[in-house]
């Protein structure tokens, strides 16, 4: 399935399954993450991303399959493993009445090897809030603290579960910068997200998940190019023009509507646009907000699952 396979995998997931009653939360998932890679699991809520990650973290037991991190078995060697990985969970509410420094020091006490508190505070840019109780932090600061807690043991592998969900755009940006800096430090990062831009922006490679399965895997570019050789002409929906008419235009491969916009996919954009404008002119119709767009991961996801990747 994937064209790029890591040469030095530090995370290996092989044919992992986990069911809750009749629900196959994870249904035969396999992937590998190379050293220093940022790997994303992209999918809507309920796709099985969190369940997969929590099995790797030793928080859930798989029904079948193998999970390995740094050569350690996640099922049978969780204690050794927990010393060497860092984890954030989806919710970041931690000890509301303790201060930033107190929570960091508490977590440092759990590990044999730790980074100095001051270094963590500086790295996460929490210096001004070091004496603040965690309940007084903003959402973005709280999430940065959660990441700081995942770094107290200077882990080789970091798991970030929906790190930017619920954050405003500025806070999301600052968290992305933070993840970039972790990548520069050579950490291997596995993150889950349901934001396409986030996966596109941060991940070296990603896997698209839905209904407990991996549908596609590769770099963002690979995923798009594999399915879409064409680009799209985008304009605001014109109810007077039928899809059949658009499909009949030269070089058009498909037509899709999403959120008030029409996308006409084409192998030859200038030819398609020319013919489109001629057709509309002949019928006395005006076109609004015309543009050309490359196919994106969103298109890939739509193509794969038939639904949009939104929360």
């Amino acid at each position: 399935m994937a064209t790029s396979v890591p040469s030095d995998p530090v995370i290996r997931v092989l044919e992992v399954r986990k069911s809750y009653g009749d629900i196959h939360a994870v249904d035969g998932v396999s992937f590998e993450v190379g050293r220093g890679e940022v790997f994303g699991l992209l999918g809507p809520n309920g796709a099985g991303k969190t369940t997969t990650v929590e099995m790797l973290e030793g928080l859930r037991q798989p029904d079948a399959g193998r999970l390995e991190i740094l050569g350690l078995d996640a099922v049978h060697q969780p204690d050794e493993l927990k010393e060497r990985i860092g984890v954030t969970l989806q919710t970041a509410e931690l000890y509301p009445k303790l201060t930033v420094v107190e929570v960091l020091d508490l977590f440092r006490s759990f590990y044999a090897r730790t980074l100095p508190t001051d270094q963590l505070v500086d790295f996460l840019d929490l210096g001004e809030r070091r004496k603040a109780q965690t309940r007084e932090l903003s959402g973005g600061q709280r999430q940065r603290l959660a990441v700081a807690l995942a770094l107290v043991n200077d882990p080789e592998v970091v798991f970030l579960d929906e790190p930017t969900t619920g954050l405003d755009p500025a806070a999301r940006r600052s968290l992305w910068d933070l993840i970039e800096r972790l990548r520069e430090q050579g950490k291997t990062i596995l993150l889950t997200t349901h934001y396409m831009e986030e996966a596109d922006h941060l991940c070296d490679r990603l896997a698209i998940m839905d209904h407990g399965r991996i549908l596609e895997m590769g770099t963002g570019r690979e995923l798009v190019d594999r399915r879409f050789h064409e680009r799209a002409v985008r304009f605001d929906d014109l109810p007077q023009v039928a899809d059949a008419e658009l499909s009949a235009l030269p070089s058009v491969t498909s037509v899709r509507h999403d959120d008030g916009s029409t996308f006409v996919y084409s192998r030859d954009i200038p030819a398609t646009i020319g013919a489109l404008l001629d057709t509309l002119d002949a019928r006395g119709l005006e076109i609004d907000d015309l543009g050309v767009r490359k196919a994106t991961l969103e298109d890939v996801f739509l193509e794969l699952t038939g639904r949009a990747l939104r929360d």
């Binding site: 973290e57 030793g58 928080l59 204690d79 927990k82 010393e83 990985i85 984890v87 969970l89 989806q90 919710t91 509410e93 931690l94 000890y95 509301p96 009445k97 303790l98 107190e102 929570v103 020091d105 508490l106 977590f107 006490s109 759990f110 590990y111 044999a112 109780q133 807690l149």
Partner: protein, 362 residues
Amino acid sequence: MKALRALTIANFRGYLRDRQALFWTLAFPLIFVVLFGLIFGGSSDQRSVAWVDEDQSAGSAQLRAAFASVPAVKLVDEDQQAALEAMQNGGVVGVIVVPAGYGATVAAAATDPTQQVAVTYYIDPSQQTSSAFMTAYVNGVLAQVNLGGKPVAVTSQPQTIQTTQLNAVSYLVPSILGMALMQTGIFAAIPLVADRQKLILKRLAATPLRRWQLIGSNVIMRLIIALVQFVLIVGVGVFVFDVKIVGSLVAIAFLAILGSLAFTSLGYVIATLAKTEDAANGMTSVVQFPLMFLSGTFFPIAAMPDALQTVARFLPLTYLSDALRQVMVGGTAYAPLAVCVAILAGWTVACFGFAARRFQWQ
């Protein structure tokens, strides 16, 4: 050990910054002690003392007159058995017994200075105020009686007995200590459920921290709070309301620790059953108030209606408070001490066992 200590300190910080927890575990029981102490602690103007005259002579009548001359005392004539019963149930603060042959010995002492006779008086040392009063009263009156003859002809001989009816404050201090230990213990449920609900327990599970360290720090914290309660409640009882502690501190501390463990384990049962913090709050109230009012905290179980007495027999706080009263102030046993200890220990094991098997960490 590093993790255990750090987690205990972190829990303590959370506790000290939680005004509600502080109020219920420290201020609330203290308010009870002070309130009841003020209500029941004041002494009445006149005290009744039983007078047992086994001599029935002119000499003993003269002595009675001397004792009766003290205006703060009302003498009640009784035979010895009735007098001791009256003292048992709190009707009189003490008993004075004039032995047979008293009159003859005093008469003989006028010529023979070696002749002496002892007046016996009964006190209950656990009733500090009453026994101090009796000692002063008897010796004070006898000193006056002896002024006429030298050397001393009439001496006093104190006898101690244990009375059923403790004075109200002596009864309440160990009871309220028991109640406070109960509350601190079952309140262990609330932060635990909150931490689970906020996924803090799950986050901790992703670190090398072991579960025994998590529970260990929780238990240590409860025991330290219990110690603070012990010092505060007993301190106020002893220094403000003159409660006399008769038992050994080791025995009291043992009971306090056992009681604290028994109710902390009950707290874990609540934490196991409650899904949310609100549910845990509700359940602690539901458990707390019947325990508080039906376990003989404020009045003896024997004074309750039969149906409620049956309920009390099944409540663990009944046995903790009873044991504390027995050991701290010499209260009369509702159940033998060994039975109390066994019930509390069995309760602890059963509750811990249930929670250990059923508690959901995530």
